[in-house]
């Protein structure tokens, strides 16, 4: 080795290490910058990205466009029956997905001041049917606390296609089948659901839970169900019929919550936790 060769080799090694360190830092800065930019983009654009596909795929509406429940018709009990979060008709727009653009059932519900729920149940069928079967919600899957509940759908209004359908006494307290004038694929029900609310004891005053499930009992058994709950006092939604890890099935934020997964009809039972508004 020539005199000074060792020092030269040492210098080369130092230069090589320095270059490697510089490259490492440059790579790190580029990756960090890219990931931070991606994070900001994801946060800003997240709701608008094609991933809003959950609405299309699950049949549930997107978090950014949750619909409002149309306000109830004026009646003598308007003050006690008015939804907690009223919505003007011009604001109301049905979400795409199950019950509207896809075969399935879409349930929109909002708590009323008397503890009952104003419910819209929109059914879209893959094939026309000439009779509909209605039944009170089966709340066995909702848990022990609803064991003694006797849910009653009252003030029931039904539209089959564009024709109104008369429901005996305007109530669904037992299973019934109603023949239609002509086969239809689209049915909409509006009703008041009572008897399925249990006050939580002990709990903050007004805290209650209500079990909600479709009353549409006929049609294909493989129909999927999407559910949305509106109301400023709505706190949470649980799906007690699902497996343990999926039971916390709520998404969105009050006053607009929805059930995240698409539910099968056999498991389409939700428990809504909310505060019953003070009487006014």
């Amino acid at each position: 080795m020539a005199p000074g060769g060792g020092a030269a080799l040492g210098n080369l090694t130092v230069v090589g290490r320095s270059r490697a360190a510089g490259l490492r830092r440059a790579l790190g800065l580029v990756l960090i910058g890219g990931l931070c930019a991606a994070a900001v983009t994801f946060y800003r654009e997240g709701p608008q990205l094609p991933r809003s596909a959950p609405a299309a795929a699950s049949g549930a509406p997107t978090p950014t466009s949750p619909p409002q429940i149309p306000s109830a018709s004026p009646s003598s009990t308007a003050s006690s029956k008015s939804p907690v979060v009223p919505a003007s008709p011009e604001e109301f727009k049905l979400p795409k997905g199950l019950g509207t653009t896809q075969p399935g059932i879409l349930i929109l519900a909002a708590p009323l001041r008397d503890g009952s729920f104003d419910v819209a149940e929109i059914v879209s069928l893959p094939a026309a049917i000439s009779a509909i079967t209605l039944a009170p919600p089966q709340l066995k899957l909702a848990g022990e606390r609803f064991a003694k509940s006797k849910p009653l759908a009252s003030q029931v209004q039904v539209s089959a296609g564009d024709q109104p359908v008369r429901v005996p006494d305007g109530q669904i307290s037992r299973r019934m089948t109603i023949a239609l004038v002509e086969p239809v694929k689209h049915i909409e029900l509006r009703y008041n659901m009572s008897g399925a609310t249990v006050r939580s004891m002990p709990s903050p005053a007004g805290r209650a839970v209500t079990a909600i499930s479709p009353v549409m009992a006929g049609g294909p058994s493989n129909l999927k169900v999407a559910m949305m709950i509106s109301g400023s006092t709505v706190l949470n939604i649980a799906c007690p019929a699902l497996r343990l890890r999926d039971r916390a099935c709520s998404t969105g934020r009050p006053p607009q919550l929805r059930v995240k997964p698409r539910l099968t009809r056999a498991k389409a039972v939700i428990v809504v936790q909310y505060d019953v508004p003070r009487p006014q």
Binding site: I32, R51, S52, P54, L235, A238, L244, K260
Partner: protein, 294 residues
Amino acid sequence: MTQDLIDLALGANRVLTYAGYVLLAGTLTFWCIVWPDGRKNRRLVILALGGTAAMIIGTLAGPAIQLIVGGRLLGDIVTPLGGAAQLVRLAALVAAMLFLPDIISGAVVGLRRVVALSLVLLIAASMVAQSDAIGGPWEVAKIATTGLHVLATCAWLGGLVALAAVLIPGEKVQELDRLIPRFSRVAQLSVATLVVTGIVHALVVAGGAYQLATSRYGLVLLIKISIFGLMLLMGNEGRKYAARAAFRQSHQPPGVPVKAAGIPTLAVVMGAELCIAFVILSTTSLLVMVAPHP
């Protein structure tokens, strides 16, 4: 793959992420607070890099399992805030991996300490952003308690792992009398923080004492607290044993043969503690699954 297997994979992935967090953030905290000169210790560097790798895998694998294997859609599994938090965490992990040589190029003090602690805070914040602290009533209280809980966890469990990595091989016994008192102070503060924030968080998430006592969430929490108590007892015994060993070591008369029994016994105690710590992380993973949604 069946849903049960997917659930199992997600649970295991969550444990991997928590373990990675404890290793990385715990080692960085250990360097910053307990032993700034410990950056020369090869085992601690391996712990930090291993933790970083585990967290990167866990952060990527969670959504990947649900997207690819579970067939779910991105909108179903991440919120805008949660997704952004995961990307920020990945950025922090890349920084930890690629800039670690710079952080430990000297004693972890001054600017190096600021950078290291900033990384810990950033990673902890990203975990809070994905937790059930977000949303629902008492959001600020939940975020504060969860953040402190997560930080105290890394300081205590991570410090314990780091201490074990340094002391169990028995080559650094002379460090015992310096490290044990420092770590004890950090551990005591961390445990007190864990207890207070754990109680507050559990009550807020469950919605009250009655709901907590009568829920599955409360049952799993009770199991976790029992294991936590057992670990505290063992930790206290291990600490006293290590202090005695350090005292014997430093006051050993010259020429007297060194009794080596102290360190293997300490190793057993600390090994048991680490096993319990792993069980605690697993029960925490289970708690996430059964926690009431806000």
